[in-house]
């Protein structure tokens, strides 16, 4: 002991040791004494004597004065030495205690056995008390301060980490080390506390000791993985190297990885880093999927908003439109609008592509078409103008196949233009079907200055016209069978007397039936109109029905 004033910090440490470790030490002394007095102790007299000596050494150190500052300087070094010195008699106490226990068991020395049990409990208590009084400073970290450490972590690689380990020493090492790496760290000493904490606060990673009092590491792991909202929380098991079976079991139960004790800094950083990275990537993926979902929702809403809400009521013309979107919103749309008292416009189009771009393009087409038509322009001219507008600035080469017809509700004549769309089908009142000849014109929006031609067809009262998209004729059934035009024609001729709504629904039903459960890859769209004729001609007409 150095002469002169004692460093107050060292005095404080000594006091702490006395206070925290003292009581447990006293119980060891008592046990050692009781051992010596126990029956049959003579058979193990030597060993018990050694236990007594070690107990005495321990007491002396605990009750003794403050540790001395050595040449290596520093409070930490002094504490480290004190810790080492205190543990030395404990090694002997535990070692001899267990040895005598083995001998006593073999030779049935019962009186001794009981006291030994108490002694060994006392040893365990003292060890814990020493850890509390003198937490192990991390000398490894001290070395880092002299520039030997790993490079600092990028901020985006840091996270909130929960440590669950019953050893104070381990907790302290991890808290200090991970704290220095820039992570936010919380530490608990048992499984139940870990579970409670993880349920109420958000963490990015849990380091879980396999063996703890109360709830074991693998029980905590199971509880975490059973909780739906913690499904993505990565858990790393901490274990001694010899627990391979249990490690495997934990990984099968959902642990990300394991870390062996003693902790290797490089390994710790690498494995924690990998876990946090994976968690981040999973979260990004989830966010992306959610965004895709919302994009589809927007596209769907745009599509729904531009569809007409009902066929304009007219005494001479009944009609109905139907559009069933595929999951990915295929770009179909239809429209009907009144041009004047006797003229109604019917349009049906299929925009290339899917999702929001198709939906936006679709909205543009529909608006433009209505606008040009409302100026009284003929269908071919409308398509030509639309084409100019769309093809002019079109780096992505989007296009729309478009059928546009204007129905003269007095004569039943439909003047139409068809830009690359499926030919519609006429269903005569007597059930015969006719394909409406195409005009041979190109898809709208591909080439500027394309020509568009017009043609006409005459509807007699009771005749119907079905305009449809390729979602109908290209529908695929089992064994890759395709619905096709022929089937559509034959189906329609059997529905000749149905109302437009029933016709459209009928087509939908037949197609779905044909698909027999296969998912539709394209929107399914059709518009059916029936010319009812002027009131004077619709006398004993059995095909007369309400629009």
């Amino acid at each position: 002991m150095a002469a002169g004033a004692i460093d107050p910090r060292l005095a404080a440490i000594a006091e702490r040791v006395r206070h925290v470790v003292g009581p447990a030490t006293a119980s060891i002394s008592a046990s050692a004494a009781a051992l010596a007095a126990a029956p049959n102790s003579q058979d193990v007299a030597d060993e018990i004597a050694r236990i007594g000596i070690a107990a005495g050494q321990l007491v002396e150190m605990v009750e003794g004065g403050a540790p001395a500052l050595g040449d290596d300087g520093g409070i930490e070094a002094a504490c480290s030495r004190l810790r080492h010195d205190l543990r030395t008699p404990l090694v002997a106490l535990k070692g001899y205690g267990e040895l005598v226990l083995e001998i006593a068991a073999d030779e049935h020395l019962d009186g001794v056995t009981r006291e030994l049990g108490r002694l060994l409990e006392g040893v365990a208590e003292v060890m814990v008390a020493i850890e509390r009084a003198l937490p192990a400073p991390s000398r490894a970290m001290a070395a880092e301060d002299h520039g030997e450490g790993l490079p600092p972590l990028h901020p985006s690689l840091r996270g909130r980490i929960l440590i669950a380990d019953d050893s104070q020493a381990n907790r302290d090492i991890l808290v200090q080390y991970l704290g220095r790496e820039g992570h936010e760290v919380a530490a608990v000493a048992d499984g139940l506390s870990a579970l409670d904490l993880v349920m109420e606060q958000p963490f990015d990673l849990v380091l879980l000791d396999m063996i703890m009092p109360g709830m074991n590491g693998d029980e905590v792991l199971k509880a975490i993985k059973a909780e739906p909202r913690l499904r993505l929380l990565p858990v790393i098991m901490i274990s001694a190297l010899d627990a391979v079976d249990r490690i495997v079991h934990c990984i099968e139960a959902g642990a990300e990885d394991y870390l062996p004790k003693p902790f290797n800094r490089v390994l710790l950083r690498a494995r924690i880093g990998a876990c946090l990275e994976k968690k981040r990537l999973r979260e990004i993926e989830l966010a992306y999927l959610r965004a895709v979902e919302s994009e589809l929702t927007i596209a769907h809403e745009v599509q729904q908003s531009i569809l007409p809400k009902g066929f304009p009521p007219h005494r001479a013309l009944a009609g109905h439109g139907l559009m069933v979107p595929a999951r990915d919103i295929g770009g179909d749309f239809y429209d009907f609008f009144v041009l004047d008292d006797d003229h109604i416009g019917i349009a049906l189009g299929d925009v290339s592509g899917k999702g929001i771009p198709a939906a936006v393009y679709m909205a543009m087409v529909r608006t433009q078409l209505r606008a040009t038509a409302s100026f009284g322009l003929a269908p071919a001219e409308c398509l030509a103008r639309l084409n100019q507008h769309l093809a002019a600035d079109n780096p992505s080469a989007m296009f729309v196949s478009l059928f546009f017809g204007i129905v003269d509700c007095v004569s039943g004549v439909v003047t139409y233009a068809n830009g690359g769309h499926n030919p519609p089908i006429l269903v005569r009142a007597d059930g015969t079907t006719e394909w409406v000849p195409g005009t041979g014109d190109l898809l709208v929006g591909v080439l500027p200055d394309s020509d568009y031609h017009e043609a006409g067809l005459a509807l007699a009262p009771g005749d119907a016209l079905l305009v449809y998209s390729d979602g109908v004729v290209e529908a695929v059934g089992p064994a890759d069978a395709v619905f096709g035009e022929a089937r559509l024609a034959s189906v329609l001729s059997g529905m000749a007397d149905r109302s437009p709504a029933a016709l459209a629904d009928g087509v939908l039903a037949v197609v779905r039936n044909f698909e027999a459960g296969q998912p539709a890859s394209d929107d399914l769209t059709c518009v059916a109109i029936r010319f009812l004729g002027a009131p004077t001609t619709a006398t004993a007409n059995s095909h007369q029905e309400a629009p």
């Binding site: 480290s80 090694v91 070692g95 001899y96 267990e98 040895l99 003693p262 800094r265």
Partner: protein
């Protein structure tokens, strides 16, 4: 019968551990410092070495390094016995070539498992 060389300078520790190992059926030889440990390992070729890390003459790390560098003794598994439970000491022990480690006070069942694992390995 497997032969273990125990290199430990503290008399009580040496006595207590060697007796316990004997009771478990191992043959035990002892050395009291690092230099003696290297010499005995070379001459007796034990099946396994328990090496205390803080030894006089030649410390445990250096003794282990010597043994691992020598073709004659390289294959003998070495379990470090460390007094400190700190990361740096463990890293040092494993870095010196130790095959495993145990902290004092020893948990005998665990130590025995480690011994058996290493003995079975060869």
């Amino acid at each position: 019968m497997s032969r273990i060389l125990l290199v430990e300078d503290n008399e009580m520790n040496r006595d207590m551990l060697s007796r316990r190992l004997l009771r478990k059926g191992y043959e035990v030889a002892v050395a009291t410092d690092g230099g003696e440990g290297v010499a005995m390992a070379t001459s007796e070729r034990p099946d396994l070495i328990l090496m205390d890390m803080s030894l006089p003459v030649l410390n445990g790390w250096d003794a282990t390094r010597r043994l691992k560098a020598d073709a004659a003794t390289r294959h003998i598994p070495v379990i470090a016995l460390t007094a400190h439970a700190m990361a740096a000491d463990r890293e040092q022990a494993l870095g010196a070539g130790c095959d495993d480690y145990e902290t004092k006070p020893i948990e005998l069942p665990r130590l025995l498992e480690k011994i058996e694992t290493l003995l079975r390995r060869d």
